[in-house]
Symmetry: C2
Subunit: 343 residues, 2 copies
């Protein structure tokens, strides 16, 4: 038989369900059943199929499966900024849980893609992801709202946006702030100030601080300096607090970064921490764990939050219609080197 000239020279395609079937002497449908772990396959046939798979080195084709199953076993994770170490912690809990349930994770940094003019939310929808997790406060919540009733969605690490069928998993900011403030009060501080932050988390932490103060009869000593949650912002707020007449003996800062700024300000103004001034941060980022800083801080259980977000998403995928739920993880105080009783 004279073989045709321009044959594409047999690139030996990877084995498919049919090659496996042929080798095992069964039909492709049976192979498919084995693949999906159906209980109604006779043990000997199952063994034969499994052996054939192994011999051929068979690996299922994900694209084909998604096409016919109409789902991708993939969830999209929308980050607002990978540079924030807290989110990385959360991501750890999130992906661990999702992977354990057989889902792939597609990561997208919203900040990055917005810069190159791409709407990541749309991309995820195009990819037909089975679910979406929005991590942190997103720059453009409207896109999320639009997509949330077509695709199961949860928000992790933030309390907004609050949408009809979108679950929320976050740390209990109010409780964390209360714990931090009470730690300072318990040490004997009466004049405790707060460096505030932005957004809903900022409000909640501020609220927790004020609540703790009031509960201990210190309503009159409440003092809040706003900041933007950056090192620079924390620095400036601390300078304002420490430069005036009535100096606080302790400061609870919105987050670790602002707290580091406050630490710098204290050093520059000649205050020794914790002898002259106690400082508490929030988030227990790896900054706080540097020996050189060694901040007392509130651990807001990022791993837990991620875990819970994953759990919520799995439940929502199973039952997309159920009402939205809010899960708050309990933060834990981490006492290190920046707090002590007042002089």
């Amino acid at each position: 038989m004279p073989d045709a000239v321009d044959r594409p020279a047999e690139p030996s395609r990877p084995p498919t369900i049919r090659s496996v079937a042929e080798r095992a002497g069964v039909s492709k449908s049976l192979v498919s059943l084995v693949l999906r772990g159906s209980p109604q396959v006779r043990p000997e046939k199952r063994r034969a199929v499994l052996r054939a798979m192994k011999e051929l080195g068979y690996r299922p084709n994900v694209a084909a499966r998604s096409l016919s199953e109409r789902r991708t076993r993939t969830v999209g994770v929308l980050l607002n900024d990978l540079r924030n170490p807290w989110f990385v912690e959360l991501l750890d809990g999130l992906t661990t849980m999702l992977r354990a349930n057989g889902l792939h994770v597609l990561l997208g940094d919203g900040y990055l893609s917005r810069r190159i003019g791409e709407d990541l939310t749309r991309t995820f929808v195009d990819l037909r992801v089975d679910g979406i997790v929005a991590v942190g406060t997103l720059p453009d919540p409207s896109a999320l709202a639009e997509v949330a009733d077509r695709t199961p969605t949860v928000v992790a690490g933030a309390r907004e946006p609050a949408l009809p069928r979108v679950d929320i998993a976050a740390g209990d900011d109010g409780l964390g702030a209360r714990t931090a403030t009470e730690h300072l009060i318990d040490l004997g501080h009466r004049s405790v100030a707060h460096i505030g932050g932005r957004g809903l988390a900022g409000e909640l932490r501020r609220g927790g601080y004020e609540e703790a103060m009031r509960a201990h009869g210190l309503a009159d000593a409440v003092r809040v300096e706003p900041s933007d949650g950056t090192e620079e912002g924390g620095y400036r707020a601390a300078v304002r607090l420490l430069g005036g007449r009535e100096r606080p003996t302790a400061i609870f800062a919105y987050n670790d970064i602002a707290c580091v700024g406050a630490l710098t300000a204290a050093a520059e103004l000649g205050f020794e921490v914790p002898r002259d001034l106690s400082l508490v941060g929030h988030d227990n980022t790896y900054l706080a764990r540097l020996r050189h800083l060694w901040l007392t801080t509130v651990d807001n259980a990022g791993y837990d939050v991620g875990h819970q977000a994953a759990r919520s998403l799995l439940e929502r995928i199973a039952d997309p219609g159920r009402p939205a739920e809010v899960h708050l993880s309990t933060p834990v105080l981490e006492v290190r080197g920046t707090t002590a009783p007042p002089r």
Copy 2:
């Protein structure tokens, strides 16, 4: 309107290429041609098709396309640790470039998945990614070797493993170390020590340091304390260096984290930086940029490295057979607050 809420109802599947064809009054093949931007479609038909797509809100089905095209337009990125801020920088450059070329990016943290017993490399192969980028030194290079001749692969941010058809994009570690050391020598330091790090990068940086010392006739003053590149490791190495008889007046540390450790050690031992001791780190992570630390350090151009890695991958996808290339980006010294002339 009585809100009867969640009916399964609405069987209206998303529009396909055929619904578009029907609406535009053409065949599905023509729609496919328009979709792929073929030049051989008459303008009026093209317009009709585009209008129909818009009216129906058509979005192509990625799974179907990959199945028939036999490629996914997706690349897998294998990270060894998301917690390392340097990689995030690199990732930024990498994903920006890849997205701009129409490729999706699947992120996988090798550290995470290994913990849950998943071989991420295999997962990527199963997903039929069009390419793989390994970022940083991987824990298990053998898996990569195995996969590299089936799937286009590049290594970014590390110099190993060196494999037959795998391109490498990294910072020029030797040059960076030389620059840092020369900066110290130029300031007048004669006794410059080095806190070493692990792996090939560790060797290269150490080599650059020694080379610079030799070039300035300081071969006898070479002194290297090994470390594991952590804060703790940097701390211990610095204690050893500063505790002995012949104390150096300057230290070049393997990376910023170890440098922070050295900073702590210096403070504890009563050395004021930079008056009594100059310190230089490496990587210009955001640690170095904290005002409270303000490290002089070497910026190893993470964004550039990522960019180049993406470029290499695109070229390798286009021509998988070509020989491996190595691209080194030029690091830049970032002078901040931890270096000064010796007393």
